[in-house]
């Protein structure tokens, strides 16, 4: 059903228009003068020099989580690449030397130009091996090939970049929970 928007009833002085123009001009001039005298009022961020913080759960560039020994948590099950609507994840699996794990990724590539940043890969992963919490949302390169990031780039992060209550990140080499996790890992009680 069509929505009927009633026309505003303008008073005589509003219909004369010049008075309303003067009021509008006063508003804009007020802003201009206040901003000239007090430059702190700007709501903008001077972008390259200062950056806005995005929330922790913002879906940005991906990363691969690490085991305490530094190997990827990924078991090359292809769940993420199957779930991916953009088909941007390319995995080549190989046999894992670890007898508890069947496979590991020989190559793990994500084409960021194809990626739609939907987060389905994170949802699909049974091992919490892929996450999108890097907060790295400005992706710049001068050729298309450089947007295809490989396993090394995906695992190039430090636990210090993540909050202390992020257990999975802190169990990676360099994290505050790493020593305990490595002990468990070698004694076979690590999950």
């Amino acid at each position: 059903m069509a929505k009927i928007v009633p026309r505003p009833n303008l008073s005589f002085w509003e219909q004369v228009y010049f008075l309303e123009v003067a009021k509008g001009l006063a508003t804009t001039m007020g802003h201009a003068v206040r901003n000239l005298v007090n430059p702190d009022r700007f709501e903008t961020t001077d972008y390259p020099e200062a950056k806005l913080q995005v929330p922790r759960d913002y879906r940005a560039r991906h990363r691969l989580m690490k085991r305490p020994d530094g190997a990827p948590r990924c078991v090359a099950c292809f769940m993420c690449s199957t779930a991916c609507p953009a088909r941007c994840i390319n995995i080549v699996a190989e046999e894992s030397p670890d007898k508890h794990i069947e496979k590991r990724p020989a190559r793990f590539e994500i084409d960021l130009l194809l990626c739609v940043f939907c987060g389905y890969c994170v949802e699909a992963c049974p091992c919490d091996a892929i996450r999108m919490d890097t907060m790295d949302l400005v992706l710049v390169a001068d050729n298309r090939r450089a947007f295809v990031i490989d396993k090394e780039k995906l695992m190039d992060w430090q636990p210090t970049e993540y909050p202390v209550d992020d257990e999975q990140s802190q169990k990676a080499p360099g994290g505050i929970l790493h020593a305990k996790a490595l002990e468990e890992f070698h004694s076979g009680t690590y999950h």
Binding site: L25, T28, H31, A32, N35, P39, D40, T44, D46, E49
Partner: protein
Amino acid sequence: MDFLVQNFDVILTLLKPVLIFALLFQILPLLVLAERRGAAIIQDRPGPNRAAISLPGGLKLRGFGMVFNIADAVKLLFKESFTAPFAHKWWYILAPAIPVVTAILTPAVLPWFAPIVHQPDGGALQVVSGQIFDANVGLLLLFAIGSLSVYGVVLGSWASNSKFALLGGLRASAMMISYEVSMGLAVLGMLLIVGSFSLTDIVEWQGNHTWGIVVQPVGFLLFLVAMFAECNRNPFDVAEGESEIVGGFHTEYSSMKFMLFMTAEYLHMIVAAALIATLFLGGYHLLPVGGFGTVWVRQHIGPVLGVLLALGGAGMLAFAWLITRRRAAYLRKAHSDNASRNREYTVYAVVFALLGLAHLGAGAAAWLLLPVPTAVIAAGGLAIFPWWASLLTAVVQFSVILVKTILVCGLFVWVRWTLPRFRYDQIMALGWKVLLNIALVNLLVTAVVTKLVK
């Protein structure tokens, strides 16, 4: 020196056009800058401030965004000058030149300072007019030339052979012709009061009595609105419309030809502002009260120069203060380029503070050191002042009208970033049903009152 004094009129007549055009069109880059930064500060943001000239020693000069002008010009100059294959080539190339030429021609008939009367020892009386071309039908000539600028828009849009361009051109031409009627009628009131078409007479009348805005407030408002329409400015910028007709009349234009259209738009704004200042804001006269005309300024040239220089100096000091506040605001934020900004803003603040102090000093010197000029009364009651007093008065008067022009240009920018644009039928209704009627009533009332008073 003797040669200079003897041939005063010849030298001044030769120098006049160069100085007037050079100084008047220096407003153009300022205006482009004011448009960007003005829009920014009205909308609570800092505006473009990234393009910079890097000097050795880590000093980056951004020039308050002025460097963007250079970048724009370089970009437009080096872009491919593309001519659409379906365009009528000859007219297509000719069209951008027309508005620029008309805009550059019109300041020639505006009076920029009062006529200088000079008599060298034992020589003939020399009179140097304040106009480049002193026509006693100055106003008609102005409107005749100014109205030609619409041909550039129409010709450009037709020659592009593109529907969108043609639509933009048609809208612009219909609007400009409609508002020219109200514009002419708005000025007629002023002409009735003064009783002359000569721009010099109009300005001199304003100096002897009062500014045009005081006796013709309605005429001023009508003329202002008509001038916004003539310049294709907001809220009357129907010639362009990204959302409805791609670009407007310049859809098919690029590089230098596009730049000429843009330049012409801003030149027209400057000329319109100068015209408004001349007709309604007292032209080159200082005060909106009678009795402070050219002769008074010449008699008191020392104090007048002193006060004006001091005012300019105070303005520069205030600007330096604003710069230091801006610098402090940057330093309060933890930015990666704070060191470079600090250096740059310190340089600006020091330069403007020194300039302001120099102006204050020069003002004091002018007041204290300049002798009181003594006028010689020539035959016919004409007061002849020493050449230096007349020349300094001309400088003062030219500065005054230049400042008025800049302020009216500022009004153009201010209005653009305040008002939303009209719908096309609203523009036509306003032009023909409202402005025309008000202009006619204003003319009638003015005519009756003028007849009764005289």
